[in-house]
């Protein structure tokens, strides 16, 4: 098991790096790291208020039903899936099972799964050229989620918590071989309440994160009787609410009991524990976020009570405070972290409605700066290349009719150039939804679907990421989802309309093409 860590005064045990707050204090907005410098006098428990709880909202940039060249639109009532080809706009309609959930496409492939709640079956849709074949596989348990391994060969099927839907399967997981429908489904029993699945890069193993710990699945196990997957726990009786698996599949980390960072070596089960209370003179800390850096070498914990970020190295030195790097963020109000896909850019932010800023950290250089915004943040995501961040804002009721008050009360979002700090605020007539956004780095565009049925707002906003210009495109029907087909230089907007409606937008020419009525076609009686 992991070693116990004794509390050590921070001035002796830790290397401290301070980040000066920029803006009103003058001087360069950049800051440096003073290795080995003693902590600032008085460092210890901050008197600063912790503030309201951080509300982590995940902005989805990849809608689940988008393949490489097709969109899978599920008609639940009819038990059919419309396969809409984004290259020539042709539509096929295929029958799946009873009461299907929205189809889930394998990333970057024209393969999708339709999970039938009414029949405990899974339909595998393979689209090749103009045709889609459907193979239905029996599943012995309820499923509502699928995760795909990096090679695209395997899908791990389970039931995740989806309130307000009632969850009935808390332990059963199946693995489907997508390349060989003849291969029987491999069934596993895992810990309680799987929440998500990670994979090793080779696609040989899957790691199912549950409230009990991490279960490892052998994906190539193939046909066999059901087995109980080996469970590695975090040595706690409390449910694991959130755990992360490193990209190389070596470690899993979780925040246990609010202050302990536990690291599991997934190869041999070694548990290492890091006690973040050592960062406080009185042994009390509030940790609001724990994330693995995409580099896979460290885990970052936001200790909001003390306005620091603790960087803990993954591996055997996790528990050694002398190996930690703490970054003081006094005055920044950071409660959460968001990462670029490359991992070399981290943005700290908070969902506290009273704070209107973000902080950009560059882990490679250990530098960063605070960027003031015009509104507070309710969700944030960084582009995969780390060039931009999208912040969705709160709408806060303010006294008075000043411009600031009116801005605070409005819905809106900001695009932030993380290199220069330039931010563009776009006010909107409806609250942008985290699942109504597409950021297409390749084409340099951001799409937001805005919808408010009470006020009749139905709009698509197109942001050019070079100029930050915003174009507004009114829609005839309320938008439901947006997505992109990078290979086709095309985006789509699904809309709510009797019979189905999808509008495709071609980046280069700005042309639109709408396909509609395809779900109605499925009900023709011949």
């Amino acid at each position: 098991m992991g070693e116990m860590w004794n509390r050590v005064p921070l001035g002796v045990a830790a290397l401290c790096f301070s980040i000066a707050a920029c803006g009103g204090e003058g001087g360069s907005p950049y800051f440096g790291i003073d290795a080995g410098a003693p902590p600032p006098e008085g460092f210890g428990r901050s008197d600063a208020s912790v503030g309201p709880p951080e509300m982590e909202v995940d902005i989805q940039f990849e809608p689940p039903a988008v393949g490489a060249t097709v969109l899978y639109a599920t008609n639940r009532a009819a038990g059919r899936v419309a396969v809409i080809h984004a290259d020539d706009f042709s539509i096929e309609t295929v029958r799946v099972g009873v009461d299907p959930a929205p189809a889930i496409a394998a990333p970057g492939r024209d393969v999708a799964l339709s999970l039938q709640r009414g029949e405990s079956t899974v339909s595998v849709l393979h689209t090749m050229g103009a045709n889609t074949t459907v193979t239905t596989v029996p599943i012995e348990h309820d499923v509502n989620t699928a995760a795909f391994d990096p090679t695209g060969r395997y899908a791990v099927l389970y039931e995740a918590a989806r309130p307000p839907e009632e969850r009935r399967n808390f332990h059963d997981v199946s693995v489907l071989d997508l390349e060989d429908a003849e291969t029987p489904v491999a069934r596993f029993v895992v810990g309680y309440g799987p929440s998500h699945v990670a994979f090793d890069p080779a696609g040989a193993r899957a790691f199912v994160v549950t409230e009990d710990g991490i279960c490892t699945l052998d994906l190539a196990r193939g046909a066999a009787d059901p087995v109980r997957a080996p469970l590695l726990g975090f040595d706690t009786i409390f449910p694991i609410e959130e755990a992360h698996v490193s990209a190389d599949g070596r470690y899993a980390v979780a925040l246990v009991e609010g202050t302990q960072v536990r690291q599991l070596d997934l190869a041999d089960g070694t548990l290492t524990s890091a006690d973040l209370t050592v960062l406080s003179m009185d042994g009390e800390v509030t940790v609001t976020d724990l994330d693995l850096a995409p580099s896979g070498t460290e885990v970052l914990a936001v200790v909001r009570s003390h306005e620091v970020i603790a960087r803990l190295p993954l591996g055997p030195t996790l528990s050694d405070p002398t190996a930690w790097i703490t970054l003081s963020l006094v005055g920044h109000g950071v409660g959460s972290l968001a990462f670029s896909g490359t991992g070399d850019r981290v943005v700290g932010y908070t969902t506290d409605p009273s704070i209107e800023s973000i902080t950009v950290l560059d882990l490679a250089l250990n530098e960063g700066r605070r960027i003031l915004l015009r509104k507070s943040v309710r969700a944030l995501r960084v582009s995969s290349d780390g060039a931009f961040a999208l912040a969705l804002h709160h709408a806060v009721t303010e006294e008075g009719t000043t411009e600031d008050a009116l801005v605070d009360e409005a819905q809106g979002y900001s695009i932030i150039d993380l290199a220069t700090g330039f931010s563009r605020l776009a006010l909107a007539e409806a609250a942008p939804r985290p699942d109504g956004v597409v950021l297409d780095d390749a084409s340099g565009h951001l799409l937001l679907a805005l919808r408010d049925d009470a006020t009749g707002v139905r709009e698509l906003q197109l942001v050019d990421l070079a100029s930050f210009a915003v174009d507004r495109v009114p829609l005839l029907a309320p938008p439901t989802t947006v997505g992109i087909f990078p290979a086709l230089d095309r985006a789509f907007i699904g809309q709510e309309a009797d019979g189905g409606r999808v509008t495709f937008y071609t980046w280069g020419s700005g042309e639109t093409h709408t396909v509609a009525g395809f779900e109605l076609a499925a009900r023709i009686r011949r």
Partner: protein, 501 residues
């Protein structure tokens, strides 16, 4: 003003049975009266002196007169709905009699009683719905091809595929379409609540294609109310829907029927109140009115443009002509409804292209509009309308009618000092006839702006324009008896005819 001498003629009917006028309709220089109590119709030709009358026996049952489009208003179908029968009489089925000024042209007997008869837009088909009797199958429709004589296949019966007990309410018919198998394809589209069924008219026994108007399986969808065939597509408007359904006809891959369909929808900003097809662009364009916008669709690509409207409109007229400041004859649209304005749209060559839009406010609110696209004008009336003319009672001191010049975008008001009780437009749309309650009749020539006034000895109850080159208008003094004066432009000695019914 001189009072024209009265000339009265009595039509000697020589022992004819009593006649109770129930229905009246104009024919070419003739009048059609129907007495469905005594099951007889009379055609009265007024271009002869004396008038000539032809009687036509009808089948028993309540009658409906259905003008035949495309005939220049010269033919009318008399539909009788049949009787239930009794212990002494056999039931009598519905019947259709096609008449013109010469009398009966053709007659068809339907397989049973029906209550409702409607005509296809091109006037080729009359279809009967709402069968009635002691036991009926309500999904049956009987279709009469008015160009073919009665026979085993004429009329033909179509049976709607009722999904939830719905019954057919209306229909649309295609013209014969060239089809890959060599034989023209003729389709009938039956409307019912929540669905549209397509039948091959030459294979009425083949099962129809039934197309739902909603994907919601828990409720009945909106009812189709209007459909237009555009080449090999059918555009359908529903009663409450904000989408138009476009049904594309394709060749069937199986042998059960000759055609199959592909569906798509066109979204609008609200409930669509009217549609029109305009073929003056490179490919057909579809125009759809909602309460606040007009949408123009390219039917081939589904591309759409829209214009916001100042008022809700319900009518569309396509015309070609110049406009103020633009002497070029272009394809244009004018939109109107029961609101004090018109909106003009200037269209481009591309189907969805709208070059300009402008509104013309009116000093009045029209209640009825007669459109004359060929002459580039609208005749707008203020007041209620009824068969045979416009009721503009209470018109004293205001404008009962207005001639709107679509090229000049101006409205010429026709005002009145005493009340005008009736108004009518001649069949060629070139004259407006107005009658006040005291026996005076006025005619306004729209083209020359000249006026004429006549005094008739008897007050005028109604005005009935007759088709025909003489542009006659009948001024009825006593409608049930068939007493009228024959008016014509420039005729200063109109004939009075009494008691034709």
């Amino acid at each position: 003003m001189n009072r024209a001498p009265l000339l009265s003629f009595l039509v000697f009917l020589g022992g004819c049975a009593p006649f109770e006028l129930g229905h009246l309709a104009p024919l070419e220089d003739a009048l059609l009266g129907v007495d469905d109590t005594h099951s007889v119709a009379r055609v009265v030709r007024v271009d002869s002196d004396p008038v000539q009358t032809t009687e036509i026996a009808l089948a028993e049952g309540h009658a409906t007169l259905v003008p035949r489009p495309g005939s220049g208003d010269t033919e009318i179908a008399i539909f009788t709905e049949g009787t239930l029968g009794s212990e002494d009489e056999l039931p009598i089925p519905a019947e259709v009699v096609l008449v013109d000024r010469t009398g009966e042209l053709s007659r068809w007997t339907l397989p049973r009683q029906f209550r409702v008869a409607q005509m296809s837009e091109d006037g080729r088909y009359l279809y009967a719905t709402a069968p009635w009797g002691r036991l009926v199958v309500e999904n049956e429709v009987s279709v009469v091809d008015l160009t073919e004589p009665a026979g085993p296949m004429n009329p033909r019966s179509l049976s709607l595929r009722s999904l939830g007990g719905e019954v057919p309410s209306a229909a649309a018919f295609s013209e014969p379409m060239p089809w890959p198998d060599g034989a023209p394809l003729r389709l009938a589209a039956l409307f019912a609540a929540g669905q549209l069924s397509l039948f091959d008219l030459d294979r009425p026994d083949a099962p129809p294609l039934t197309i739902p108007t909603t994907v919601n399986t828990a409720a009945v969808g909106p009812e189709p109310v209007e459909a237009r065939f555009v080449d090999q597509e059918l555009v359908v408007r529903t009663a409450a829907g904000s989408q138009l359904l476009v049904v594309s006809l394709t060749q069937s891959l199986d042998g059960a029927r000759r055609f199959d369909v592909a569906l798509r929808t066109l979204a609008a900003s609200g409930r669509v109140s009217a549609i029109a097809v305009d073929r003056r662009s490179t490919t057909p364009r579809l125009i759809a009115l909602t309460g606040t916008r007009v949408h123009i669709y390219d039917l081939e690509t589904s591309l759409e443009s829209s214009v916001e409207l100042p008022s809700p409109y319900s009518s569309i007229l396509a015309f070609e002509g110049p406009a103020p400041g633009d002497p070029t004859t272009r394809p244009r649209l004018v939109l109107w409804g029961t609101s004090p304005s018109l909106t003009f749209l200037e269209l481009g060559d591309e189907p969805s292209a709208v070059m300009d839009a402008s509104a013309l406010p009116l000093a009045f609110t029209p209640s009825h509009v007669v459109a004359d696209g060929a002459a580039g004008r609208l005749l707008a009336f203020v007041g209620g309308g009824h068969g045979g003319g416009f009721d503009v009672a209470g018109s004293a001191g205001r404008t009962p009618a207005s001639v709107i010049d679509l090229y000049d975008r101006s409205a010429l008001a026709l005002a009145t000092t005493p009340d005008v009780s009736r108004a009518a437009v001649s069949s060629d749309l070139s004259d407006v006839w107005i009658a006040s309650g005291d026996g005076y009749v006025n005619r306004f020539d729209i083209d020359t702006r000249s006026q004429e006034e006549l005094w008739l000895d008897d007050p005028v109850q109604s005005l009935l324009p007759l088709p025909g080159s003489a542009q006659r208008v009948l001024a009825f003094h006593e409608l049930p008896a068939g007493s009228f004066t024959i008016l014509a432009p420039g005729d200063t000695a109109p004939r009075h005819v009494g008691g034709v019914f």
